[in-house]
Symmetry: C2
Subunit: 438 residues, 2 copies
């Protein structure tokens, strides 16, 4: 173990583990990329006299947020087409625009814009799902951002691959290329039951076992998807995934707006993680995920923003607040999805979904130092009765002041440490012209 | 008409009237407190050579947002008690806390904190509903903030009044005291059907006619309220209000989560305004207002944050986004409650609900210069395909840079012009100690 080189002193440390804990005037001691100790500030000053001290006297310090489902290159399509039914949106707007620009440069620049937005909003890890995973992985590594990069599979030719075999070959090459990286890992990302055949799912299931990596899948996003599957396959998509052996602890099932009690129980028993994307589900009128019932059944429930083309942001504070509010409305229970659980869903549960529960998601000795400081002295969060409540219900992402990933400072006093925002804005505007052109 | 003394030059002017309009590189010319003309920047520079120019080169300029339902003194109780069923929340937390602190000082300081938060978030007018309307009115006037102050009525003694007659006497005195003020006017604010008797409603109805002021009423907030009324009065609260003559164009009906088609049609026919408070309804699990059906029926639909004890903020950008997203989910139609309508609901419809539709709510010559500039160059709103979409779905209130009320600058480049935020924060923290004490 390296010596403690950094001590972050906060008005409140909110470690997420133990659940609901709020430690007033505590410090987090770091050695390199690792959390070593959480202790009172007064003790830290006596014990770690040589370490660099960071004073966060009006701040809550919490684990970095984990965005458990996103399509980050689409950040360049933010607000391109709104207020449209799903199929009109996809077929007349998103797909034609993607056809115009899809390629490594678009993916790289979109991911870069997303990294800047995520960092400024306190997100330190994302679960990515798009084409050109090689470019994504390289971009995340270049920026020192933690990501699980999905290896995309769909039964259609794309700019990424032309045939089933080419998808698998290229995806495996990406997996091999980035194996052993500390910040970036991979998952298998079959698009959805309605766009992937049984044979492909069988290969994905086998690879998931062999490589020991998660499967990241859109599942039961809409009632239409379920109905179509009943007609085509004689069963609901969930049952088909069960028959194919995919319902297990490696599955990251995204959306899940349509669920029977038996399906919820099966998720809990098998250890499936569900990623709730409340704002995407609302905006596309996809349905309501039974988030509180999933939580009650003991299912690991995480939160994702989905892509910016449908959301239209990567704001995990906002998404978590929406999740907490919506769960109360949908379950008709004001005590549902409480503030402490909301914070856990946005951090530790996301980490667990991604298979990173032992490395990130809470402020615990031995875990990676992915940390976020949030200013609580803004008038918008005054007065403070309970910092956990303020974080869940009143804090805006613009109150994030400082961010560390694996011990490296990424945001300092509200400013990105290593990203040129002017250049990024210019790039985004150039892509707008290309994407909108027709 | 005074001469044009100020010209605000914006990248985009979004006047709300005509509906959906986006005027690129336009200017708004002001004379004192009044909007005189909207014209291209190039023309404005030729025509108004002597006026003070304000360059808003990366900004959208829109009408100030109208928060159509709030209890602003409760801003001091933000996050005091969360995740609780309505009656536990009220009876065990809110009412005892109010009993400890209710009085002119608490109301004054709470309103002041709320004004600061509202201004920073682009809200320029609110529809207030609380005790001590005299103190509220004086505080809004002192800060030059536009407000309709509710004259509260409830069949219980309070720190404000001890008997029915005292409520009416004191309320009328407040109405008389502030009659003729330009920024502050009054409404009659009977609390709710379940806390106000028929005789009192009859007096309120009569006064509303005599004084020509709105009636601001919580109505059909929960299914329980409707059910209780059926048991007690043999009819739904809406029917009781109809029988009492209150369903008319002066009624501001707040919440309205329970509505039959006939009730919606009756609202449209009578010209009732409905204030939708989506986040409060979600957080307290009160039910879902059929916002899209109300809109479809032609009912004037406005948006309110409700009080900070239940929301927990006064963020009209956030509330409007939630309203738009939730309406799509509830109506199962992604094209429902589109971005342009969302912006109209948050501005012009709020103004109309308050009886101020001819004075504020849109950027139109002759209207008051209540204006908000929003920076669109933040990475979080890049790139910009459509500024109206960005405002509805991606903009955070922290992007508000400049605010004018009646032509007077209230926020300049993100900073409050005439409020000492340090002093305000200290006051809020002092109240926290008193409110939480027990």
């Amino acid at each position: 173990m390296r010596a403690v080189d950094k001590v972050l002193e906060a008005r409140w440390v909110i470690p997420v583990e133990p659940h609901g804990a709020v430690l007033g005037n505590h410090a987090v001691a770091l050695a390199g990329d690792t959390i070593v100790e959480i202790l009172p500030i007064t003790s830290a000053r006596e014990k770690y006299t040589d370490a660099h001290r960071v004073e966060l006297s009006e701040h809550a310090l919490l684990p970095g947020l984990v965005n458990a489902h996103t399509h980050n290159p689409m950040t360049l399509m933010r607000g391109m087409a709104d207020d449209l039914p799903l199929m009109t949106w996809l077929q007349q707007h998103i797909w034609p625009a993607e056809a115009r620009v899809m390629g490594p440069e678009y993916v790289r620049d979109g991911v870069e814009l997303a990294i800047a937005e995520m960092l400024r909003g306190g997100t330190t890890c994302c679960n990515e799902n798009y084409f050109f995973p090689d470019v994504q992985a390289a971009t995340y590594l270049r920026h020192g951002f933690r990501a699980v990069v999905g290896l995309p599979f769909i039964e259609f030719p794309s700019a990424w691959a032309n045939s089933r075999d080419e998808y698998f070959d290229k995806n495996l090459a990406v997996h091999d290329e980035f194996k052993g990286e500390k910040l970036v890992s991979t998952s298998l990302a079959p698009h959805a039951p309605y766009t992937v055949a049984d044979e492909s799912f069988a290969r994905i299931r086998m690879l998931s076992d062999q490589l020991d990596i998660p499967v990241h899948l859109h599942l039961h996003e809409t009632a239409q998807e379920v109905e179509d599957s009943r007609k085509l396959h004689g069963m609901r998509p969930f049952a088909r995934m069960q028959a194919l052996g995919l319902i297990d602890e490696r599955l990251i099932a995204v959306h899940m707006t349509q669920l029977t009690e038996a399906e919820i129980a099966a998720c809990a028993k098998a250890g499936v993680s569900v990623v709730h994307c409340p704002e995407s589900n609302l905006k596309l009128a996809s349905g309501f995920c039974p988030a509180e019932r999933l939580r009650g059944a003991g299912v690991n429930l995480a939160i994702g923003t989905d892509g910016c083309a449908s959301n239209n942001d990567l704001d995990m504070f906002g998404e978590t607040r929406t999740a907490a509010l919506l769960a109360k409305g949908v379950s008709a229970d004001a005590s549902a999805f409480d503030a402490a659980f909301a914070l856990q869903a946005a951090t530790l549960n996301g980490a667990r979904a991604l298979g990173l529960g032992d490395r990130i998601g809470s402020i615990v000795p031995g875990k990676q130092a992915d940390l976020v400081a949030v200013r609580m002295d803004a008038l918008e969060t005054q007065p403070v009765y309970n910092p956990v409540s303020q974080l869940a219900y009143a804090t805006g992402r613009h109150q994030v002041s400082d961010v560390w990933i694996a011990g490296v400072r990424k945001v300092e006093n509200g400013a990105l440490c290593a990203i040129d925002t002017e250049a990024l804005r210019a790039k985004a505007q150039a892509w707008r012209a290309r994407i909108a052109a027709n």
